[in-house]
Symmetry: D2
Subunit: 388 residues, 4 copies
């Protein structure tokens, strides 16, 4: 294939996973603002996610969050997903919203709480079995708020033990991906604060354990593309949680705060082979749309990832390598910037038309009347949200 | 008076204001953990605050948050405060929890929302009149989440207009104190993100407008004691909101994360005359006790401020000045560290005994049975909390 | 004029000032790497700056740094500038490289050192008189390394006194611009750490004192475009020092680390009227080219500012305002991103051709043989650099 | 032994290593300020280090930096060390001050430069053989300044290859310790930016490779004691480089910026067995005394580590564990703070007297006349410094 054909083919095969909870209400500790038409159950969330896929063509998988998306019949949920044109993606465990988890879950000082948490994780694997999901995504809110509150190393021991039990339960075609986060909700220590800690645990677990990079979970100044390059080199990059931050874990739409960083990250993915489906890197959105409408925000985010991916794929890698090896600092930088400065929107519009889609996904969504429809229909009941 | 007598006198006259909302449930966007015995109304909050004062002797004022502490009869509330041994301190406005405020309050693009917000602020001044409070404390959650969302300068114009109307309403013995915050809940711009912005607005308002320094509201690395020194030099330091942070606005107990910083801040207060009651600097706690019991956490915080104040007052200022003027870097630093490294707990224990208090406030509180009493009595009703 | 004609006209009239020291060797505390062809005196620096202007057409002014650029005959230096096609821009004072300045300059505890520093500043105004420069640019390395080392407020007093004396010396058509910096070389306090401090001093000095925003001088997360908007609203934005940072004051080429931030800053300039020559905002580069060739790096930086300016000018302000006033978060953001995502390089290439320039300034420079010429000619003597 | 006897014994056996370069001139990129009496060669550096040990009793080892401390006869240098009462500690490699290293050393794109760098590292092992040093301390200034400048993963490959060759050269009783640093002098990527990268390389090298934690080399907010606890749990903590920071890698005296953090770090060392000599954790100072006198600053730093160690050892671990396991957040924190708030200076004064030392090391140093002696004697020659 020609260069551009390769780019086009890669873009067509790209899969960006959307999070079920991204369609529910969310907010800050100060306020959750409710929005009209927000889903009231996992089935409605899947319907919304399906709309994102319908207009973008590259968002066929939907992550679930348990227990937020707990249902009686997971086979029925998976069937519903298929009906509306998507499939169940990763299963996200949630061990932070019961009162028992005030001081942690898998790293809690009390063995009873740890048992409860591990049982929940095992239940999530059951859901994977029932839905066909192949990935258990683990993020723990575990940590401490005050120096001395608990023993850092002891918590690592407990965490390792829990992970080990869950890992052993995974089937042959299942894996776990482990997320790290610098802080929040814990404000002194977090039990997996950085990629190094996640990586060290994954190494001990085995090849089916990989690291999740959430783009909002780092200290100021941390170079995320470096982490991505290193994890790919170690074959330990499992997934992305994409979002944007200016300050902390702001969870804004991906590409909204630093589109050049997103491009650099995807350039690292490209160089490291991460777009090769064989590498099994999941590209997931994990955002809180606190003040903007949910579905359009998700569409915009998918488009932002697409645009950054297109730019990353357009980098003239041969010219880049040549400049790098020649020690041509400005020349190498210029090769990278040439791709970044390209306006890829026409290319993506064309691509969508080739895929039978409207070249402008947001316009297509707005024209569809879906927003008005769900606002009218979804009255009564309890809107889904963080904690609901 | 001798040096130590001066220190002791200053410590006895110190007043640390507690926040009514610090006795209610609080948490993060992930979860609010409920605690037994949490107050269900402003009267119960005042009762709890009174217990903190009873065992520490230096916490006689209680800040209210409106509408969280809205009552029908403010005179009755003030009388209740007096009955239990405290008084109403600053009135904190809250213009961030109505759905109308999704895109801001006083800086909202819609004039109707701004009107509503200003009316609320004027209502807060009414409450000041009714309760005898002399300070209106203004913090605005206003800001934007995305580049382009609104016009930065236009928002400043709206903010200035609102502040001006409120300032004009203040009585002779009333003032407003204006708080700044780098981010959260807004994640791109905050309309008053730093002391410079708050200061510029106060300058234009007049002498009854001063700046609030919340110790958790700065970017990483910002030198807070510098700001305190500059604001005192400009006679524009109105109040502190004390709390601790490791990362963002973590709102941990003051002195828990960086006791040396707290000492340096109080040393700047000391040098700048801020402990002089004539300067009218309010020393307020503003914390979220997410996982620790409320009242003991508040007592501990009061003690932490006391200990840091004692150390700050113990600095040998003459020796310090001499070393500074001599350019003796290590000598000047050593003078400061000598005070910091002193264990002031015996001094404070003695001081409490002189004041007729138990030398150990936490032990006294635990021995009082109050925690058990409120846990037993305060069943039914809705626990107070952020938003309640 | 049509919209695009307005944009083109603004771009043609843009003036980006280059720093004389940006053509000399620079580095970190670990190492200064020498480069071939680096200037050995201010005349050679001006010659290099003239090459940047020759290929870009928008860099006609050159900042000097005193004493680095001290010469016997400033009129001759100004004449040389005119000969090679540029002019003398701002005069930058340097009071940080004499042994006397170890503990500061204008804020030093010793009055003799302060006197020496102020005399240097007055000498800089003499140079302004001699060269026709209209701006004195003040950055002070003053600060402290250790808590207690010196008195924060006393240093403010000394600083204010020094500034006042210098301000009084300014002629009618002269002004001073005051720079702030969070840290470095001082590592505990900096005497002007933030825009608020610089602004407060300028207010007291008078209308001829304005603030300099160096894009590398902020704490992590600080929103620079907010500061720019506020300073323009207050008519106190005097100049930019453009460069890029990932971590601290990295002084990389402008636009290299976060091109979207540069665009947002220039969008704030555009909205605030800062591109209007009447506002007298100076757009200066202040960078250290530690490992990349000096002149091409400067050309690239000029181009980066041009591209970001073009995008900022292309924002559809009417559509933006409409979306903002409607509270359309995603719509307003989309208007801004449309401009940012535009590839403006063809527009700028065309503009250069209209100005009689090569559409590709870097190619023109490389083809000129200038780099080879100066590498051959400038042997012997001492290369200019930080401190030389 | 009783509790206090255990503490005392541990403090007496503590060894704090001083860096030879800490006695030479240092500064920032803006200026290096020369000081009277600064050593002119490695022999004089050792003499100064010996004075620090003479008055503190706990600083018997001195790190060398090669080539700064290159001598013809290393056996003679080691003998000189013994003569003055100290010994050669770790050998620090320096591959960042030749012009060849502009784009890196062991990760440079050019194989010739890499060869040169590795040869230097092997030379350092020769010096270990000659001096009896048992540790090679590796810090690389390698990295890039611009996106695209070089390939992140390729640089990791080159780094791994270099480390592997050096590791193979180590003798049975020798080891290497690998340092990480977030940024500086490289301003976009650093080839070993975090503990995770250093750890991953060490894992592949083998048991004789461990990680160095420099307390100034982290992003804002990173929890260093967490890293220490994890590395001790993994048996991969090799050494500390102690210093203080408020902003970046400020290299202030240890304990000067955040004494509570230093205490927490040493508490983690204590809990993890790091004070056990069998664990072979080196406690080294690595500071730049830019404006303060070198030897007193080093004495003060040694004392600061001692005081923090004493506090860490005084923690009532049984009470701490009990509170932690009971989930008593405030109680556990209080146990830790009790130790921190203790004034340990009397304990250390007594300890020094038991060791036959003056209870006040700084007073003893000042009384010794050594400062005056070296200022008088060390005239002529070139003062040692960074790069000399």
């Amino acid at each position: 294939m020609s260069g551009i054909a390769t780019v086009t083919a890669a873009l067509k095969s790209q899969q960006i996973e959307t999070p079920s909870w991204g369609f529910g209400n969310s907010g800050t500790r100060f306020k959750v603002f409710a929005q009209p038409g927000v889903p009231r159950d996992p089935f409605e969330k899947l319907a919304d996610a399906a709309r994102v896929h319908a207009v973008t063509g590259v968002a066929p998988a939907v992550s679930l969050h348990i227990p937020w998306d707990e249902v009686d019949d997971y086979a029925a949920l998976a069937a519903h997903a298929a009906d509306v044109g998507v499939r169940i993606g990763m299963i996200n465990s949630n061990t932070f919203q019961d009162d028992d988890y005030k001081l942690g879950s898998v790293a809690h000082p009390d063995a009873k709480v740890r048992r409860k948490a591990v049982d929940h994780l095992l239940h999530c694997v059951d859901i994977m079995d029932a839905t066909g999901s192949d990935s258990l995504k683990l993020w723990f809110a575990d940590g401490t708020n005050y120096p001395g509150q608990d023993d850092i190393a002891a918590r690592q021991d407990r965490l390792a033990e829990a992970l080990s039990e869950v890992y052993a339960r995974l089937g042959d075609r299942q894996r776990l991906v482990l997320e790290y986060k610098l802080f929040e909700p814990a404000f002194y220590t977090t039990d997996i604060p950085d990629w190094g800690t996640a990586y060290a645990h994954c190494l001990k677990l085995g090849p089916k354990a990989k690291v999740v990079v959430d783009t909002g979970h780092h200290a100021p100044g941390v170079n995320i593309e470096f982490i991505v390059a290193v994890l790919l080199r170690e074959d330990r990059l499992g997934a992305f949680d994409f979002n944007s931050r200016f300050y902390a874990d702001d969870d804004l739409m991906v590409g909204a705060a630093d589109p050049f960083q997103l491009f650099r990250i995807l350039h690292a993915v490209s160089l490291g082979g991460g777009f090769d489906p064989a590498n099994d890197v999941a590209f997931m959105l994990d955002q809180c749309h606190n003040i903007e409408p949910k579905i359009p925000a998700m569409i915009r985010s998918v488009m932002n990832v697409q645009e950054a991916t297109a730019k990353a794929l357009l980098v003239d890698v041969d010219a880049l390598r040549a400049a790098q090896l020649a020690g041509d600092v400005l020349g190498a930088n210029a090769v990278l910037m040439d791709a970044y400065n390209t306006d890829v929107r026409p290319l993506l519009a064309e691509l969508r038309q080739e895929m039978g889609l409207d070249p402008d996904p947001l316009a297509a969504y707005h024209a569809s009347g879906y927003a008005e429809k769900i606002a009218a229909e979804r009255v009564g009941g309890t809107q889904a949200g963080w904690g609901a």
